[in-house]
Symmetry: C2
Subunit: 243 residues, 2 copies
Amino acid sequence: MAADLLGPLLAKLRRRDDVGAEEEAALRSAAGETREFGAGRTIVRSGIVLSQSMLLVDGFIARYKDLSEGQRQIMEIHVPGDFTDLHGFLLKRLDHSIAAMTRVRMAMFPHEGLERITERHPHLVRLLWLSSLMDSAIQRERILSIGRRPARARIAHLICELYLRLEVAGLAGEHRFELPLTQLDIADATGLTPVHVNRMLRELREQGLLTFRGGIAEIHDWQRLSDAAEFDADYLHLEHRPR
Amino acid sequence: MAADLLGPLLAKLRRRDDVGAEEEAALRSAAGETREFGAGRTIVRSGIVLSQSMLLVDGFIARYKDLSEGQRQIMEIHVPGDFTDLHGFLLKRLDHSIAAMTRVRMAMFPHEGLERITERHPHLVRLLWLSSLMDSAIQRERILSIGRRPARARIAHLICELYLRLEVAGLAGEHRFELPLTQLDIADATGLTPVHVNRMLRELREQGLLTFRGGIAEIHDWQRLSDAAEFDADYLHLEHRPR
DNA sequence: CGATTAATTGAAGGAGATCAATCCGGGTGG
DNA sequence: CCACCCGGATTGATCTCCTTCAATTAATCG
């Protein structure tokens, strides 16, 4: 028996507002087939016209852009329960690419189904819209991080964020979680070089804040880590309220 | 006779899709009072619960966040026709502040009116959603810029972007436009220091790409400027298609 | 086990930051 | 009408965080 495809998404939405049974049903019936992709696979290439959007069910995915000199920047790391390209529903073509960072499972949502939701389920649309706004908020915080935080704080911040997001999806233990990324991935997400990420991770480890090794992140001192990052969870919009 | 409040917004939306007469009327009736704010005023402070959203009608506005050491990062610079906090409709509290960079005029949209639109005008909702997705795309490009482009390219890129966005709003001439920002503003938007912005602007000027002086930006060589920035307008999603 | 990919460490270099003046344009009040 | 003021622009000198270059080591996997 496969785990519930929509589980992490519903957990994420219900953390922010109620989702009625009818809405849940509408969401389920909008979901199409499930697909799997191997680690490293580019799933959507920037600029391609899309006819369906994807919900990440299992694994980790990155939205990224490349520059001509081979430099890569990750705009957002997705965890299960995230739509990776819900914005493709209205933008039609993505302005970035999407790649699997691990082996992943995706649930496909044909755009006709989403359009039907916009016509029949006003509150559910607001929740889907909200979900894209939460991505936007995460991206804004990334702008702040990359623009103004020093390297050590950037990395600390990323870890704090992923911890909370994974916890909401029910995928993190007590300050410990699977994070199967390479140091290069972290470098691409923080706008640093892998060499420097390595040094900063060592520093964080030696200071007893955090261990990141073998795809496992362990937060040893949440207080000092979030202080180092100037992390404030407000931007994750975790409160439950009518939307 | 005041200029049409919704003019720049409609121009922006109609550049991407059709907006029917009925939809236009619905939008107009959702608009409430107009407000003005002086240059430098903080209009919305991060975290405050909102009951209406604002459309920028005239002037320039910044979404920004501050860090404890007094460092500021601008996430997005808004031009007329942009909703500055449409996301507040569903997020309810902003994760950033909003400040007037010049004297500005804003049209207020009470959230009840927006909610009514979600219940009666599916296609119009999609357009409003789209508008927030376009902001998101702009913010992603900023992540790329700040994360991976060198200082000179970051500034060049920002100018290219603002030029096209202002042109869509009907506010730019032939490679020349009013941009009443200080070099500090540009520094805060690009994640640089004002001193370095000054040096890079001089370089761009001496190389004959761009002059930015006295609140006027003049692009002398679009080709070389956009090359320097690796600017590709795709992320502005300028194509007209059914959404 | 070789072979490939990721992590680690050292040394040197550079883009951009910081610190500190000076300049400039425009408002303003005497 | 001009001396003064003030925020922004400009320039120089110095510093530093992070990059770059280059090996070496560890881990992973057919």
